[in-house]
Subunit: 423 residues, 4 copies
């Protein structure tokens, strides 16, 4: 494991001046270079330790700085055995899972403060990868908010200053204390606002959205200018140097974030233009102020990245670049423990939306429909035929984007339709 | 050519009691069993005939019941030569196109009446194919309206009487005098209304819209009932025998027509469940009262078929059957001469919509985007980059259906956006 | 039903001078315009009729030219009831299936002659559709052979004479007495030979097989000549007027048939360029002399069409036209009763090949793999994991064609691999 | 840039005891955290430095440990300006590209030894990512060979000892001195041999290769055993515990490598199960002893990884795992300077093969055909129509695999066909 396992140390010194060993611990087992994670509730009672990990019992002892721990099935058979040392809020040692050897570390998860905080975060550098190998810039707790901003897709900030190489440079990552793989992170954007009056876009429809014969006969206009002026008071964008045909053309401003994602599985480093079950460069034009994004957690702390503001975007992000601009935003996070979603979901006042992010349009439609079906199964306990009745009558599809490394399709259902289904 | 060429004779006896030979003629050339069509304006002046066919000149003579006709390029070279007999509103004979032999017939196209008529049509039998080999049930003129009805997808009428075998039985075809291949037929539905209080639907999401692993684990509920009661006063549909979870579930009624199509090219006979550039079983939930459907014409008279009413339908028609029911409807037709569209288009008060009907989702998206691009090129003379700007900011995609032999995707743009583009 | 139901009358007068009413009968039920077919073995014993239709019993009586027939389930419940008249080898009348009314006709299937015959057939006209609405040109029996020829894809014969409009004009259809829907037709090509020394091809790779960016930048060479000279003694084709680069370029001759198909379901008429589960324009370069093609039967008599000879073809038929030429061929037919295959199959000395003909490459691969899996299930009774072991180690895929209305992929397995599997 | 830039230091101390500053230098420019690379031939003549970088001229001076360098276009305009220090074989400093600031480092590329060497390499640890962030295990020169081995896909070696976590653990990476982005690495496998007599495989055909309806009805056999015994003398594999049906089933041994890849672009870390234009987990059953693999170079030194031996594999690797086993292998590398290929290529005695690695089958076929078209363009200077003639008659497609994150299709052409094309 090449990366620094920061999630063991983050914030501990300041926050744990007083703590109880009893409570939730984050365990990291490493076997042949691959890590697995668990959040385990432990109770320290004299020398005795007890706890629960899913259906497994945890039993152990702590004596003179040494700790012994086992997880056991209901029938008493042992799954993991760990021996090691304990020092305050930290433990580490060696052990076995079934017959395989492992090394392990653990630390006490810091309890969430009584009152949520709002963090004002000024980014200094920007990330060009979604990856668990990047140290977090800030540790926050469930219910906390972060108020910050992002550069545009090319790396330029609100004042027009170049701050990063291009490719959707990201603000973050933010470490959400207590989140572990198997949870879902909820990120509610209470504010997404423009912070400058310029944007840039592409001006050719991507080849993948046109018949190749038609694409081949299209003529590019040399020197065509696709810079935009954002008239925030009027609520519209206009081409800065329009052609005659487009001199009155206006686009309603609808600020959104193209990139909201957590660190993907294991030690993957994916470009900031990439997307997947971890979210990322989703480029979906409903990710506007007021929306909540739900993302599956793959790493301790989730590691949230945010960037790629668009002043407005049509379906599919057909020209590769929407109206790219820097953005101010504020979000509030929460962790839904034990909710395992196959792909991101979104929610706004009127709709529940389920993403399908996949290699191709047919697979993205399948993934989105499956994600929404699982939502109905999970939240309403509907059977296959009830799901058929509801989706057959009420599903709506949106095409998020067609131009990134994977395709993004969204299947939605109105909350009004859901309101008439028995729970 | 196996079919009866009814478009030569339809309505002639009654309508042509008095007519002038000068005017538009429908020509049908047949060469090695394949037919081609042309609408040619001819002027009879004594023995001399003159006319225009696109960029070609038509010159000829008529003497004692014999006719000789040539089409020539601007440089005087001859394209077709025809000799034959003429008798009132009809001509026929033999000839050549370049060096290939052909036989030909022609008849005077009947001039459109001064005042449009509304035809009340009572269907007696129903068609199970889109095909030019089916004789028309009624001849109408541009601007005429037809008021009629269709059975449901299974062949049952408003009174619950079985009238046809299943598979989307169709009302029609209607022959629109004057339409020829290369034109576009505009069909405006001024009325689409429910005529009974029952419908039926499927209750399982099609395998093609779900991950195969998820589909494989779904359990079908034996005996699940998916009959619907249509509460027209309340404007909603409810399951007739709902499960407990769905006992309050309601679907807003939004009557639409699944099938609107013309006869496809040549002598193809395609099942009424098929769709393509000729329209057909498009299953698009915006084809409601007030919408105008534009269809390319492949046969003289266009030969319009209508059927497959749905009381309501989600995107994609995921369960294979929407809320299938019989339907009353009225449409007005028009012919847009010389407008050649690659795939159907629709228009309502707020949107222009361009269909992409193709083998797969990626190809359907390409076809829809190309269709909308061509619309902007054709109606607004936009260049490739201007099209990029407009579609990149204003396109919306809908998935019509995913369950028929081809996939239907629709690319739309708001008329409000178009209103700010220079013509 | 618009078509003439020739399969009731074909060949009867000559062949049935002496016959027994006991034996196989072809039944055609028509209900609301849709036909269904059955081959039923009947035994006439005085006034009593008995028989079997699948798991159903047939019982009835014949008295004074009147016939009454019922099919019944094992539990005695009645499925169909028929009353009518009988006259020699024909019967007809009315009846019901469950509660639905039907009309029916039946005729005695002519018994296969003791000795197979070889028919020499000289085509006079050529078909441009695969369709059951085209009357057969010849009736043959299982084990019979037909020796005939086909024009090239453009309609030109061995002597260079234009005989038909283009679009893969077909020879046939041939009616195979006794074949009914649910059977499989086996067509073994014992001879596929060139009959002239010229061919033509395309010279541009289809857009659908190239990245659209690459396709858009390719420049077409005006006036490029893609006519071929077939040097049969040398076994190669050469460009007739090659460019300098290709002046020594040779293609090994490997004569094949692009089109082998039966009439598709119901009254569909599909262009001769179309393909599907009925075979058709399959354009697979292993359909050479010595191959046997297996096709599912959708119509009484199967109605076999043959055409579209290629002197040679690369995988995918990338230029739309292979080396198109007229062809001499001989085939022997057989009917495999009750074998229901989902898509065509082929066999040669070394391989079993299972076609997947579908809308897109992913679907065609799925269809081909499923077809080969079903073959292993059906012929070797393998379970899902045994199929996995065999296909995981021994499957080979070929891309038949990428340029026709549907895509054709073939999954193959060597007979050598199969020889080591227990039956 | 988080990674250690080892390619600056690798092997320098030992190999550069004596060297000339004149010669090839590797330059690394870093701007806003993103690196670009160049190999530049420099000539040191007193205080004067001159050189060439593509079409650009390099001019500069070296005085007292300080260096100034500019690259200029033919018209004299300056592209980059660099100032810094020089110390033996290393330089570094700051500068600008157009107006953007950059930092730079450079080192003298070590000249290739006169006589190629064969390195025997014993891997100690195994990589689970394709990434430039992993330090190389060995530096080699063009024409050198490496003799080594890899564990099986699960991490087990020739002696059955578990050596790594699973997921195709890789041997390497090997740094090839002198290779820079824009080159092609040629890796010729002179030896690929089994080193143990066991393998394991999957036993279910992947859902993506079957119709979902068929997949859903397949029943998995609990406890089915898919371990294999490799009988190297007999040249076949047999199931270790076969079912009755498969007790004589044999698979011819054909040892291949599933994973051969270089480090992908930038600082991406992709799982060892991933593939792309960098090669990787290509799972193509023609990558056997005797084959040469061509890979585009994205990083200085290319950074070659090798692993995932298969004793045999059907097309598509349908069960997800082929016959997975550890493997001994030897390769010889070469660098083709300035050859820029869009996707990997392979060569054996009879064929040239061009990979298409893409999101879906249609895109993979497009990429493969484009790759082979570019090969013909590049090596034979064929125009679009000549390419059409050659591919239309001689292309063959193989499906490499269908089960990994991207699809792999290969387009091939026989060398025999190529031998008759003018160069």
């Amino acid at each position: 494991m090449r990366r620094i396992i920061w999630f063991l140390f983050v914030g501990l010194s300041s926050s744990l001046s007083a703590f109880s060993q009893s409570g939730e611990w984050l365990f990291i087992d490493t076997s042949f270079g691959a890590a697995t994670y668990a959040r385990i509730e432990l109770k320290f009672n004299g020398e005795e330790i007890t706890g629960k990990f899913g259906a497994l019992d945890v039993v152990g002892t702590m004596r003179g700085g040494r700790v012994e721990l086992e997880t056991r099935r209901v029938d008493g058979t042992v799954v993991t055995k760990r021996s090691g040392t304990v020092s305050g809020a930290e433990m580490k040692g060696e052990g076995t899972r079934d017959t395989l050897p492992l090394t392990w570390t653990a630390r006490r998860i810091i309890d969430k403060p009584a009152v949520p905080r709002t963090h004002r975060f000024e980014p200094k550098e920007f990330q060009r990868y979604f990856s668990s190998t990047i140290p977090p810039v800030l540790t926050i707790f469930p219910s906390d908010s972060v108020e910050s901003w992002s550069v545009d897709a090319g790396g330029t900030d609100a004042k027009g200053v170049r701050r990063s190489a291009g490719g959707n440079p990201l603000t973050g990552p933010f470490y959400v204390e207590g989140a572990v793989p198997g949870d879902t992170l909820a990120v509610r954007f209470t504010r997404i606002r423009l912070n400058r009056n310029t944007a840039f876009s592409g001006s050719r429809v991507t080849a993948s959205a046109l018949n190749s014969g038609y694409f081949a006969q299209q003529q590019n206009v040399q020197g065509f200018n696709s810079d935009w002026t954002l008239d925030v008071p009027a609520g519209v964008a206009r081409l800065t140097k329009p052609t005659d045909k487009l001199k009155n053309y206006e686009v309603p401003l609808r600020p959104m974030l193209g990139c909201v994602g957590v660190a993907p599985q294991q030690e993957l480093s994916l470009l900031a233009g990439y997307l997947g079950n971890f979210g990322g460069n989703m480029d979906f034009n409903q990710l506007v102020e007021g929306a909540t994004v739900y993302l599956p957690v793959f790493q301790p702390g989730a590691l949230l990245f945010v960037g790629d503001g668009h002043a407005a975007q049509g379906d599919g992000e057909l020209t590769g670049n929407a109206l790219e601009t820097s953005m101010d935003w504020t979000f509030t996070v929460d962790v839904i423990r034990g909710l395992n979603i196959p792909n991101p979901r979104l929610e706004n006042a009127d709709y529940w939306m389920a993403s399908g992010i996949a290699n191709s349009l047919p697979e993205a439609v399948q993934a989105a429909t499956t994600n929404l079906s699982r939502f109905l199964e999970e939240q309403y306990k509907l059977n296959a035929n009830e799901i058929g009745i509801v989706l057959g009558t009420a599903i709506r599809y949106n095409i998020g984007e067609l131009v990134d490394p994977l395709v993004h399709v969204v299947a939605s259902i109105e909350k009004r339709s859901l309101s008439r289904i028995g729970k």
